[in-house]
Symmetry: C2
Subunit: 238 residues, 2 copies
């Protein structure tokens, strides 16, 4: 049976999983879960999504993931946390187009770039709503490494001219949160003049099939508004 799209909460029963069916535990507005979902979508890997209510975690989920975090990948004999590790594992083991470069040096440079991109300030808004502008500004200050990298690589995406690569998909969900903030706060604007290459990249990313399938940007903004108000709704838009 296909699990419902609404989020599982405490007191729920674990949905049964058919052998060989790859499952991802997610929360629809979590940027870390989005990373792994983007990889599944970009590689067109058949999978089922089980959404978790992070404010009231199912007991059976805590048995799989003691921290209760998402994403978590489950497959026959596989139970794997950590968005970046899951994403690389999926790219390595599943068919579909390769997202990471196959050349070891180029792959290593992608990892160095991912280490250099600090996205954490964007979360200030969830934990201290008074600091929304400060977190937004600090995020964009750190985003200079993305502008530089786009310039250095000279391509539409970090991963090539045709389609997003691994690095594009790993950083995109944090830009979606930044975009969400601009719809919540009229005083915030994407610094398109300061970062013209990121501005074009956002436009290009927004029209890729994987991003268009991922999450409705209006739902994300509304989720953020409610979450900031202390009233997260994990089933929003369903």
């Amino acid at each position: 049976m296909t699990p419902p799209a609404t989020a599982f909460a405490a007191g729920s029963t674990e949905p049964s999983r058919a052998a060989g069916q790859l499952r991802i535990y997610s929360m629809r507005f979590c940027p870390f879960a989005s990373r792994s979902l983007l990889v599944l979508l970009a590689k067109e890997i058949p999978h089922e999504v089980v959404n978790i209510n992070l404010a009231s975690k199912p007991e059976w989920y805590l048995g799989k993931s003691p921290s209760g975090k998402v994403p978590l990948l489950e497959n026959d004999g596989v139970l794997l946390p950590e968005s970046m590790v899951i994403s690389e594992y999926l790219d390595e083991t599943c068919s579909g187009r390769k997202l990471l470069p196959q050349d070891p040096y180029k792959k290593a440079l992608d990892k160095v770039f991912l280490e250099s991109f600090v996205f954490s300030p964007i979360f200030k808004v969830y934990f201290n709503k008074e600091q929304y502008a400060e977190g937004f500004d600090a995020f964009w200050s750190n985003a200079a490494v993305v502008e530089d990298e786009l310039k250095k690589r000279g391509m539409k995406f970090l991963g090539g001219n045709d389609k997003p690569g691994f690095t594009d998909l790993m950083i995109w969900p944090f830009f979606q949160i930044a975009i969400g903030l601009t719809t919540l706060y009229a005083d915030l604007k994407i610094p398109r003049e300061k970062y013209p290459l990121i501005a074009s990249w956002i436009d290009s990313m927004s029209s890729t099939p994987e991003v268009m399938k991922l999450v409705n940007q209006d739902h994300l903004a509304e989720y953020m508004r409610l979450k900031i108000a202390g009233n997260a709704n994990y089933d929003l838009g369903l």
Copy 2:
């Protein structure tokens, strides 16, 4: 010509490098540089080490590494920072025994484990010497994940019964600093009773060829003493 073992400082000339000669830029007491050196030693990869004076960085080095950090790997067409990225790149591209598991799931679990190990408190001693006991205690509190992992894996090393694997080598340099602290401060002791498996692991690691070739523990402790006093000596023991 083989570069001298003493550290290069501002005003120095870049030592010439023969084509095909793998070079690692290092600082002899830096735990991050130690990670990559341990990989080179464990895999018996021919290499030359160029030591950098981190208090007076050579201009030519800042041209290669704008942050001036170590380690940095240099080879024909390759210039790669970040200890963990360098280490994985060396394991992937160089001959010698494989340090990471070749099974993608086991490799992913190793990376999840490495993400879970927080070593940063040990550095408090360098940046705020008043907090040496606090940093030491916090380091050991975080080390519980290592004790748990050794118990779960049930082997002499995290990477097997015979020899250290990738995870062992990545975390070892931070334990060396913790050991160094116990020789500097009489009130600090390795919590051998609380962490019996880590205690055995330290003994096993200490007698591996790669660790024995890496750094003299007495020199490390003396380096730490001078560094804490604000008087780092990068050529100590040479």
